[in-house]
């Protein structure tokens, strides 16, 4: 059984026909070709597939694409205007060396956007707590924490 859905991704409307079992993460990557959203564990633990669902961070691997019908999704591609104009959060990750292999980075960025909006001046403890839903297997957490701190200063 297939379903025709219309949703907004990074401000652009898309209509596609999908099977009910298609995960939102696969929809974003395979149907829309937006491969910035990464797929790590596919059971909600690693956080690599984190996107914004109506402005709130969520695991795209734990949502079916059909559930996003009529909703608004933001992926990491929606952050920067172009490659010369990075979002201040991205710029901070660049400047503070907040990534090694980069696999976890899109998920971390999409978790930190609502976090910094809600808490514009976080302590290091609060940043670490907010990062706990995203795993970095390079284990470069110190620089990620530095990057988020830097971003909070830039975005204030």
């Amino acid at each position: 059984m297939t379903h025709t859905i219309t949703l907004t991704v990074n401000g652009q409307k898309y209509t596609r026909t999908v099977e009910a079992r298609m995960l939102l993460s696969d929809f974003i990557r395979h149907e829309l070709g937006l491969t910035g959203t990464h797929v790590g564990c596919e059971h909600g633990v690693c956080g690599a597939c984190t996107i914004l669902f109506d402005g709130e961070s969520a695991r795209s691997c734990l949502t079916f694409a059909v559930q996003a019908d009529g909703h608004e999704i933001t992926t990491v591609e929606g952050l920067a205007k172009d490659k010369d104009n990075l979002h201040p959060l991205q710029q901070s990750f660049w400047e503070a060396h907040g990534l090694q292999c980069g696999y976890c980075t899109p998920g971390i960025l999409m978790s930190m956007i609502p976090f910094l909006k809600q808490n514009p001046n976080p302590t290091e403890d609060e940043i670490r707590h907010a990062l706990s839903g995203n795993l970095c297997r390079c284990t470069g957490y110190q620089h990620i924490v530095d990057a988020v701190k830097l971003a909070s200063e830039k975005m204030r």
Partner: protein, 292 residues
Amino acid sequence: MKPASFDYHAPNTIEEVLDLKHQYGDDAKFLAGGQSLVPAMNFRIVQPSILIDLNRVNELSYIREDKNVIRIGAMARERHLEFDSSIKKHTPLLHEAVPFIAHPQIRNRGTIGGSVVNADPAAELPVLMLALNARLKAKNKSGERWMDAKDFFAGMFTTSLTPDEVLVEVELPFSEKNTGWSFMEVAPRSGDYAMMGVATLVTLDKNKKCKSAKLVYLNAGDGPVEAFEAEKLLEGAVLDDKLIESAASHASEKEINPFGNIHASIDFQRHLANLLTKKTLKQALQRAVKEN
């Protein structure tokens, strides 16, 4: 890591939900927040042939005060419980415990009804339902019924809902006067499943004696586990360190039944239960005195 195929229904009203569930019974599973169901489907541990998505049933999503209770629709998100001012004021135990549920990314989707119906012994919300004397309302095509939390949970991942019923509302009585609360758990990392946790309430009488106490544990048996005997030890007495010590020993040695897992042996879980019982009782007592 892809779910098996299924037929998908996304009704807009409770009436449509009940019709579908009446028609399909056990073949159909409800999709609430999906934060436990979808991982299980991705692993193909669960392969429902029909999913009834409750996310478009707006009438199931509310939190409101009604005389001396709080009414919470089954599809209220955990993130909404976390920031709700009525919950903070009238059921401070719930307010304190919700941030322990996984991560914000999960709480943004996860719902109170989904977690309660999933009845995972390691989850926070079933424990809180028991500790807070919640009542749960279920509906089917022929009517509705209320259940006390203690009758609702029926074992590991099992509730007393029948195949044609849907949970629609959770009712929480306001916290009694002179009541202190405390929720604590120990997890390997923030947001992970806890190795042990306890929800504790202490209500004092005029003479500062314990009028009633609640001790409910997670990951301590095949559902939320209440330590009735330890509660009885505390009731009617002045809560000094010695009594708190013996209640903690009794609950952790005699009343809980943890299974142990890769992160914690049974002995370690009992040890944690002992420590957490003492710590939460002391904090709850302190808060009850302050409320007095």
